[in-house]
């Protein structure tokens, strides 16, 4: 088995998920030290412990060691197993926090993953389940991960602080990933959205829709924002409302933005009109950044390109997020893959800011559990 010598060592709690995900995919153990070492409340938080438990559930033979204060974590990954799993996520972070990692790992399981996640479906911090469903799933399809069993369903909606939401994610497995050439985003042909409300007047969602439309209509007429008002047990434990918007282009690019109301008991009440307008403006910002992949999914596309067949993959992105920059460094440490990075100035065209063209050759990662079939 792998020894300490082969493990990678990091400090601090930031980027915990990408480190553990890449460790799992590459088989290299990681040691993470000084996790909130100077904090009044040092060590791993509940939501991180829940994340580690989730990793343990979907793998077989992982070894996890945490010191008494929780400031040092050693993780020696096992094999990705999958199958039918249930997990109660911490309500301190939304289900999106957990789902982002699962989207990276699910295509490489031994058995197709079918998981029920419970907790917060929409909050102000992480990408919501709605946005991941609308942007990350079509992205995985570009790499050949598709099929009838590929779905992300919101069974119950849950807002913070109480949570009480429930989603179902199932993903088929693939032996190899197709390389991609995502260099032309095309033009935005329509905007879709989802205005949701739970445990408040259903009228809230309608007020959000009207105000968001008033801004987006100046750009394009084809806008449809669905309203979703879940009731009873399906509406979770806390009141709230919010909006997610997705701009779809002629070439199958999905750019998204979202906003949620303040959690009950935290901050001032948000007017649905303001939320609708601000969210519409956030979508315009995302369109200004542009590229063929939404800014929250930058690291997902770069990972799938890295793991693809030994062929050239290209993707045009907007400015790289700090999260993505760190992810690129991690891809280098775990897989020895470096991207060719070319800045593309926008020039005379009225297409927002400068873009970045990312090119790499896949390492030909294949799902070990599938080779014998």
């Amino acid at each position: 088995m792998a020894t300490q010598a082969h493990s990678l060592s990091y400090a601090g709690c930031n980027f915990l998920r990408q480190r553990l995900v890449l460790s799992t995919l590459s088989g290299r153990p990681v040691k993470i030290r000084r996790i909130r070492a100077r904090d009044d409340n040092p060590g791993l938080r509940d939501f991180e412990a829940s994340f580690i438990r989730l990793l343990d559930k979907i793998t077989n033979g992982s070894r996890i060691e945490i010191n008494q204060t929780g400031t040092t974590l050693y993780y020696q990954p096992g094999l990705l197993y999958g199958g039918s799993v249930e997990h109660d996520c911490s309500v301190l972070r939304s289900i999106g926090y957990y789902l982002e990692a699962l989207l990276c790992l699910a295509p490489f399981m031994k058995h197709p993953l079918k998981i029920v996640l419970r907790g917060v479906t929409n909050d102000q911090v992480d990408p919501s389940v709605d946005v991941l469903k609308a942007t990350a799933l079509p992205l995985l399809k570009q790499f050949g991960i598709d099929g009838e069993s590929f779905e992300l369903k919101i069974l119950r909606r849950g807002m913070p602080p109480g949570g009480g939401g429930e989603v179902l994610f199932s993903c088929p497995v693939r032996k190899v990933l197709k390389p991609v050439q995502l260099t032309d985003p095309g033009k935005i042909k329509r905007i879709r959205g989802m205005a949701y409300s739970v445990r408040v007047s259903p009228q809230m969602a309608n007020r959000i829709v009207d105000s968001a439309r008033s801004i987006l209509n100046k750009f394009i007429p084809d806008i449809y924002i669905y309203t979703d008002h879940m009731k009873g047990v399906n509406s979770g434990k806390s009141p709230g409302f919010g909006l997610s918007l997705v701009a779809e282009t002629t070439n199958g690019t999905f750019l998204s933005a979202e906003l949620a109301s303040n959690p009950q008991g935290q901050g001032a009440a948000v007017l649905p009109e303001d939320l609708g307008r601000n969210c519409a403006k956030l979508l315009l910002e995302e369109i200004y950044r542009g590229g063929c992949v939404d800014s929250t999914n930058q690291s997902l596309v770069l990972l799938l390109m890295t793991l693809g067949q030994q062929d050239v993959s290209k993707v045009l992105l907007g400015p790289l997020s700090p999260y993505t920059i760190e992810f690129l460094r991690h891809l280098k440490s775990f897989f020895q893959v470096m991207f060719k990075i070319e800045t593309k100035p926008c020039g005379e065209e009225l297409k927002g800011g400068d873009k970045v063209l990312m090119t790499c050759v896949g390492i030909g990662f294949s799902n070990l559990s599938k080779t014998l079939k």
Partner: protein
Amino acid sequence: GGVVRGKPASPQGGSGQKLESENMVDETSDIETLLKEEEEHKEENSSSMETSGALKWKEDLSRKAAEAFLRQQQAAPNLRKLIYGTVTEDNEDEDGDTLEELGGLFRVSQPDRGCKHKADSLDCSRFLVEAPHDWDLEEVMNSIRDCFVTGKWEDEK
């Protein structure tokens, strides 16, 4: 499809690079003129005031600043350098740095701003908009017009 798309991209990239280097030259010459002006200025100064030793240290300040700026410009990392240039696994050094001992007994605990903050900050993939545009302005709205099917299309299509 990929080949056709690939072709126009490469000359564009080339011109981009050329532009960049021209910019560099521009900046360098700017700084050279700045340095020259500074020298002239200094000469004037010294001739008029003769040797005022007390202020001698000041004379070099802007020159030093300009030189430092020039050095920084030449070392201006491109995106690739920014990403891959820095080593992420520098934990051991950090340890050494932060464990300064006072009188062999106490440790000076300095919150090492940037680096430390980043290490323990929120693990989140969202790319927050730090300086939002004013989308009520016609000019700003026009900056993304051609991203939509309702905007202008390239001739080739």
